[in-house]
């Protein structure tokens, strides 16, 4: 196959985009990898390894591998903080983009982590992972308060290395690409509207917040006071299987990842009591049955979704739910409540679809082949969670399949 003179734009550097970039570069294809955030790895790189002593096949470590592989190719050109502005023409496509320079000076940052402690917005500062391109600490403009009302400069003021700038220059560029690989991933549901006090009670957190907590402390500590959390509840399907919100789908990954997280916490905090509120347990896979049976022995499984969370005078969380055992209302007290938030189509899908002359399906995801009435434009492929909720393993498979189709297209055209 003679495709080593071809040029492909990969949009999105999560696990799907990285897999694609690596595979394409392996064929000698020149890849321009565009990433909206200042770091590579997407959602998947924010996840913890869930192994207790044995691997539980969560796939989180795979992302690290994909990242190293994709960034090692000299033909992969990385643009972080990038936004696609327009896509015109075809064979080749002309892609106009804009990049923002990173807010953290990678040469100065020594990763001390003081900015993490100072930042009032969970998730606004992330440990980024971008070998060769840096920086290792990334501030996300879309969450940072400075870019909201310019009032907050806590991280900048606290940085002992004077590495944080909070102002960035935009740069415009244009590339020509023979094909486009769209892997812009998903977004997670914001549970502020649910009756669980998210955003008001500091110890009510989302699954992604819980990942960050575990990454920072290795154990679960209450965000409100740093005390170890011994009683933890997981509430499943927050924003999934919800026709009212227009998300009638199951997000597929949350039961498995929450249950793995629960077992990980228990392996590190022997006395942690974990309660799992669910509708239907949705995990599956080769080793699932023994894992699930074992988890069930150690986790209180309650088939009911709570209706309310109140904060007690002693700053604990009182979860009110209908107890299927006693058939009556029950209140249970927890230190931390983790909301397993659903996977939603990214807000970028609409604009991206318009730019690409694509039609999202009725749920808002970008189906790999467009729709019947409006098939996908030639040479544009979508893969990974931009097409629907997916595990890490499924995202890798999906990327590989799309790369094969793309290579076929490139070798024909």
């Amino acid at each position: 196959m003679n495709i080593d003179h071809k040029h492909v734009a990969v949009i999105g550097a999560g696990v799907t985009g990285l897999t694609a970039a690596d595979a394409l570069a392996g064929w000698g294809v020149h890849v321009s990898l565009f990433e909206k955030t200042p770091f590579l790895g997407g959602h998947a790189i924010q996840l913890n390894c869930k192994a207790t002593d044995a691997c539980v096949k969560c796939g989180a470590c795979v992302v690290e591998d994909k990242l190293h592989r994709a960034t090692r190719h000299p033909t992969v050109e990385i643009h972080t903080g990038a936004q696609i502005e327009t896509v015109t023409g075809q064979r080749p496509y002309q892609i106009a983009y804009r990049t923002h320079s990173p807010l953290v000076n990678a040469d100065r940052c020594n990763g001390c982590g003081i900015c993490f402690q100072k930042c009032p917005v969970p998730g606004a500062i992330l440990q980024g992972h971008a070998p060769r391109v840096g920086p290792y600490v990334a501030i996300r403009r879309e969450l940072c308060r400075y870019f909201d009302n310019a009032a907050c400069t806590l991280c900048r003021d606290a940085c002992p290395q004077v590495a944080i700038g909070l102002s960035s220059e935009a740069q415009a560029g244009v590339i020509r690409a023979d094909a486009i690989f769209v892997a812009t991933g998903f977004t997670t549901f914001n549970p502020s509207g649910k009756p669980y006090g998210y955003g008001r009670f500091r110890n009510v957190i989302t699954s992604l917040d819980a990942e960050r907590l575990l990454r920072e402390h290795a154990v679960m500590k209450r965000p409100s006071d740093g005390r170890p959390a011994g009683r933890i509840a997981f509430i499943q399907c927050v924003g999934s299987r919800d026709a009212q919100l227009g998300h009638p789908w199951c997000s597929k990954i949350c039961c498995g990842s929450s249950m793995r997280m629960a077992r990980l916490i228990q392996s590190r905090q022997k006395d942690a009591q974990i309660t799992f509120f669910y509708i239907d347990v949705q995990t599956f896979g080769k080793d699932f049955q023994p894992f699930y049976l074992n988890a069930r022995e150690n986790i209180a499984m309650i088939r009911a979704i709570p209706g309310d969370i109140l904060r007690t005078e002693t700053d604990e969380l009182e979860v009110i739910y209908f107890d299927p055992e006693t058939h009556a209302s029950k209140e249970s007290v927890f230190d931390i409540v983790v909301l397993s938030v659903g996977l939603l189509p990214s807000g970028d899908n609409g604009p991206m679809a318009r730019i690409l002359d694509w039609t999202p399906d009725e749920s808002g995801f970008l189906h790999p082949h467009g729709s019947d009435r409006h098939p996908a434009p030639a040479g544009i492929y979508t893969a990974g969670a931009v097409t629907g909720p997916m595990t890490i393993a499924e995202s890798v498979s999906s990327a590989e399949k799309a790369v094969f189709e793309m290579i076929r297209y490139l070798s024909r055209s």
């Binding site: 299987r241 026709a243 009212q244 509708i279 009911a304 209706g307 009110i320 209908f322 006693t326 058939h327």
Partner: protein
């Protein structure tokens, strides 16, 4: 609801409520409604079970139970329902299937009195006016409200407000904050001396006919007093 002999599933007509305007079949049995319900567990009631029984076709059992009358119609269940099932409306439909002497006594009496006299207390018009004027006098005695009077049956006012029966019975003090706000805001308002009650006893009892009559009376008051805005706090 335990029976000695098992029910025959095929004998139930799960399609019996299909003409109801909402779709209880979509229920995921997630129990969020039951978790949110303030009276769940009382007398074995929970909204999920009720929805389930209705979708199975066990409507008769639900109608004969006390559950529809335990529900306070607060609507929290349907607010949290991820599938958008109109649960409070199911309760209202169920209530409507039990009428006359079959509804709980206090509701039956309230409904009968409201239909007959315009309010469930059977409070005569003169007594109603006397109570309002008496409270108005007390308000007028407070600093800043000098000269306050209650505008009963004021033709051409901007706003008509209904009155909860509690306010002219045991909680007359609670009339004052409303009135003070109207006064301070310079509102041009009025109260009707007939059919002043806002509480819909038809809604309580699931009696659509009674709802129509009571709502009709309030509309008639607006027409009579030439008011175009209604404040209906119930």
């Amino acid at each position: 609801m335990a029976n000695d002999r098992p029910d025959r599933l095929e004998a139930l007509n799960s399609a019996c409520c299909k003409d109801w305007s909402y779709d209880q079949d979509v229920c995921l049995t997630c129990a969020m409604c039951a978790s949110a319900c303030p009276v769940a567990g009382v007398d074995d009631y929970d909204p999920r079970k009720m929805v389930r029984m209705v979708s199975l076709g066990m409507v008769d059992q639900v109608v004969q139970s006390r559950w529809p009358w335990i529900c306070t119609m607060c609507g929290k269940c349907e607010q949290v329902c991820p599938m958008g099932i109109d649960i409070a409306d199911i309760t209202r439909r169920i209530r409507s299937l039990r009428q006359g002497r079959q509804i709980p006594g206090i509701l039956y009496k309230g409904l009968a009195a409201a239909l007959e006299t315009g309010n469930n207390l059977s409070l005569p018009k003169e007594d109603f006016i006397f109570i309002l004027e008496d409270v108005a006098e007390e308000v007028a005695g407070e600093p800043g409200f000098e000269g306050f009077s209650v505008p009963i049956d004021k033709k051409g006012a901007r706003l008509l407000t209904t009155v909860h029966n509690k306010l002219v019975n045991t909680h007359t003090e609670d009339l004052k904050p409303w009135w003070k706000i109207f006064h301070a805001a310079g509102e041009d308002w009025t109260v009707a001396s007939d059919n002043w009650e806002g509480t819909s006893w038809g809604y309580f009892t699931g009696n659509d006919e009674a709802i129509k009559i009571m709502a009709g009376r309030i509309v008639e008051n607006m027409r009579r007093l030439e008011v175009d805005t209604l404040l209906w706090p119930e």
